[in-house]
Amino acid sequence: MSHQPYETFLFSNETINAQQQQQLDRHLARCEPCSSLAAALTDLDELFTNSPAPDPAPGFTQRWQVRLSADHQKRQNRNLWLLTIGLFVLAWLIIVFILTYHLQYINLAYELSQLIARVSRFTAEVRSSLSLFRSLINTLPFMIPIMLVFGSGTLLALTALTLTWFSAIIKLYSPIQKRGKPA
């Protein structure tokens, strides 16, 4: 038995005229599969109508505001990272560009020998300064404890400054919740 156009009448949800309705009723009276489907559709309509979806838990808007600020912070951090990486890449590109631009006009062997000469001159100067410093210490033995205290104090201060700088950087890149601020 052909189920068309009756299946179309059932499932299309289009309004059908009186004549089509009569034809459909006649078909449903003698076709068991189609009448089952029609009954199923009626049951489904009833089921869906009597099953409203639950409401969200109270405080939905407040939770949204919390989420928005966390999301904002996350995006800000991501942008900061992207900016840092971008600047780093840009700096390297500039360095590579400058090097490649200059290398074509430079006599590499001559520049290398000049660099070695400069380094050796610098090393000699450092050595002479150190020997001068050593001789000064030898001539002023009473000053050694003072200089030790002064030197270690400077070293400690430098270490503290470095640690503070590192913690500031870590805090800057960490998400807002980790910093203990209200999200």
Binding site: L10, L37, D43, P52, P56, L68
Partner: protein, 198 residues
């Protein structure tokens, strides 16, 4: 669109988070309901509804005031949920990530009515979860949001004829699933005129 709503949208357009809060108060139920029917549990529905409002707030400049705000919001939520359903299919779900079973509170008034409601809800979810994500969205918008075929088409970025054919196929599939479910024996359920001892 009411005058208040137009005013809130205008203020939210200018970056007023508080005004957008009023819009959330107003639309949280339909958006949450759509997400719930699409994803099948309250935890995912909450997450999807929140994310939909975040996306709406961030892309408010793209909203065309000539279109209804509700349609625009539901469109964002529907597309987000469709993506989530597709992602779920690709992901392997661990047992720990599954929502924990809700234990019914026996002290609530009319526990039988509540139980019947929960059973009906599970039945509805089992039925519509068998549909493809876009078909499911079309059915949810049709049955739970009383959207016309044109509104569904606008919400899901489909043509009206595509919506008609999707709804047709969905109703056919739902009716067949319903008949299959009726044929299946229900375990632990006493039939009428059956001895309680059995």
């Amino acid at each position: 669109m009411s005058e208040n709503e137009a005013l809130w949208i205008k203020k939210a357009f200018q970056g007023d988070e508080h005004a957008f809060g009023f819009l959330i108060d107003h639309y949280q139920k339909p958006v949450y309901s759509l997400c719930y029917r699409m994803l099948g549990n309250s935890r995912d529905a909450e997450d999807a509804a929140q994310e939909s409002f975040i996306r709406a707030y961030l892309h408010l400049k793209k909203y065309d005031p000539n279109r209804p705000f509700a349609t625009w919001l539901l469109s964002i939520a529907a597309h987000y949920c469709i993506d989530q359903v597709r992602k779920r299919r690709l992901e392997t779900v661990s047992i720990e990530s599954l929502p924990s079973e809700v234990i019914e509170d026996r002290n609530i008034p009319y526990p039988e009515a509540k139980l019947r409601q929960t059973e009906r809800d599970t039945l509805v979810q089992n039925l519509i979860m068998g549909l493809k994500p876009i078909d499911r969205a079309a059915v949810v918008l049709r049955y739970w949001h009383d959207c016309s075929e044109v509104e569904i088409a606008n919400t899901l970025n489909l043509t009206v004829s595509a919506v008609k054919s999707r709804l047709y196929r969905s109703r056919q599939a739902l009716a067949k699933s319903w008949l299959d479910m009726e044929k299946e024996p229900i375990p632990n359920k006493r039939r009428a005129h059956e001895s309680p001892a059995l």
